[in-house]
């Protein structure tokens, strides 16, 4: 499908947001903290964009959020605390990594569940196939039923006077 970057919502912020993702003036001087800030930014969703993280978004509010993230990190918040801070203001929507709570158990367990179902299928097929190839002369279910019907009919025949 066409990659139509409709950054129309940017217009809601009107003109002149020429900021382009992370800017040097936003970056912290401590490389360890800055790396953490980038990491956290990549997990936060830009609330005005269509599916981008704040680390790579041009929007003005993304820049504000990037600055806020760094502020919190400098003040001593852990990564988790910074994320919680944002969630408190914007809700779980802002997390690109969905939280692990009763609402999302199904999501997080889905890959495993699907794999198990697939595995079950596979095993069932293998077992059936191995059983059949071990006794290749055995009749299949359908053939067995047909044989049964015939021999019943036969038996009935013989009881006829």
């Amino acid at each position: 499908m066409i990659a139509r970057l409709v950054l129309i919502l940017m217009l809601a912020f009107a003109p002149v947001t020429t900021a382009f993702a992370v800017e040097p003036d936003e970056m912290l001087s401590d490389p360890v903290l800055e790396a953490r800030a980038r990491d956290v930014s990549r997990q936060l969703r830009c609330v005005v964009c269509q599916n981008q993280d704040i680390d790579s978004s041009n929007a003005g509010i993304a820049r504000d959020m990037r600055l806020l993230v760094r502020e919190r990190i400098v003040e001593g918040d852990t990564n988790a605390e910074v994320l919680d801070f944002m969630v408190a203001r914007y809700g779980n929507f802002v997390l690109l990594r969905p939280p692990f709570n009763p609402q999302t158990y199904v999501l997080w367990f889905a890959p495993l569940a699907l794999a198990l179902v697939a595995g079950g299928f596979g095993i069932a097929v293998m077992v059936r196939v191995r059983r059949q190839s071990a006794h290749p002369d055995d009749l299949s279910e359908a053939e067995d039923a047909a044989f049964q019907a015939l021999s019943d009919a036969d038996a009935k025949d013989e009881t006829q006077p």
Binding site: A14, V47, V48, G60, I61, V87, R89, Y90, G91
Partner: protein, 185 residues
């Protein structure tokens, strides 16, 4: 059993189909984010005044201990739709006796002052949020946004976008009436 297995793809797709049908509801806006502030106390903040407007600055304390719900509007002079909304808000203040507070978002005070002088100032108080930090406390996603805050400081309702046009105005005034009647939206 075997039948059920072969029927599972169609059954699963029927379930998905139900969700898709739900998702196509024209009232639904896939990009709107529900506010986490609803039914929660207004965030803590203190903002200085916008010099020259004649109205004081704005802080959380102003939202607590009121006799009736008030309206908090986040606006800016560089925001084009805010112009149209300004007329609606002015009418609400003058005709319906609404108490209106404003947060001036990322706006140079001189620009805001010029804008308000030109259009009129319906705000009882205006806080200057030059950095935009307080707006983030309110969960801002764009300007304008307007909130109805109960007399006790609980956020009751949020409208994203300009309260302009028949549908929007009707929705907002209904919510306001409900808030005044004592219920939350």
């Amino acid at each position: 059993m075997k039948r059920l297995l072969f029927a599972s793809p169609v059954l699963i797709s029927l379930i998905f189909g139900g969700f898709f049908l739900w998702g196509l509801d024209p009232e639904r806006d896939p990009s709107a984010i529900p506010s986490v502030l609803i039914s929660r106390p207004a965030p803590e903040f203190t903002l200085p005044e916008v010099a020259g407007t004649g109205v004081p600055g704005f802080a959380r304390a102003d939202l607590v201990g009121n006799s009736e719900p008030v309206v908090v509007n986040i606006f800016a002079s560089w925001c084009v739709p805010c112009r149209a909304e300004h007329a609606v808000l002015t009418r609400l203040v003058e005709e319906d006796g609404v108490r209106l507070f404003g947060i001036n978002y990322q706006d140079e005070p001189e620009d805001a002052l010029r804008w308000l002088t030109e259009l009129g100032n319906p705000y009882e108080r205006i806080g200057s949020d030059l950095e935009g930090r307080v707006a983030i406390e309110w969960g801002l996603t764009g300007v304008p946004e307007t909130f109805i805050v109960g007399g006790d400081g609980t956020v009751l309702y949020k409208y994203v976008g300009p309260v302009v046009g028949e549908t929007a105005v009707r929705e907002f005034t209904t919510a306001l009436a409900q808030a005044r009647a004592g219920g939350s939206s």
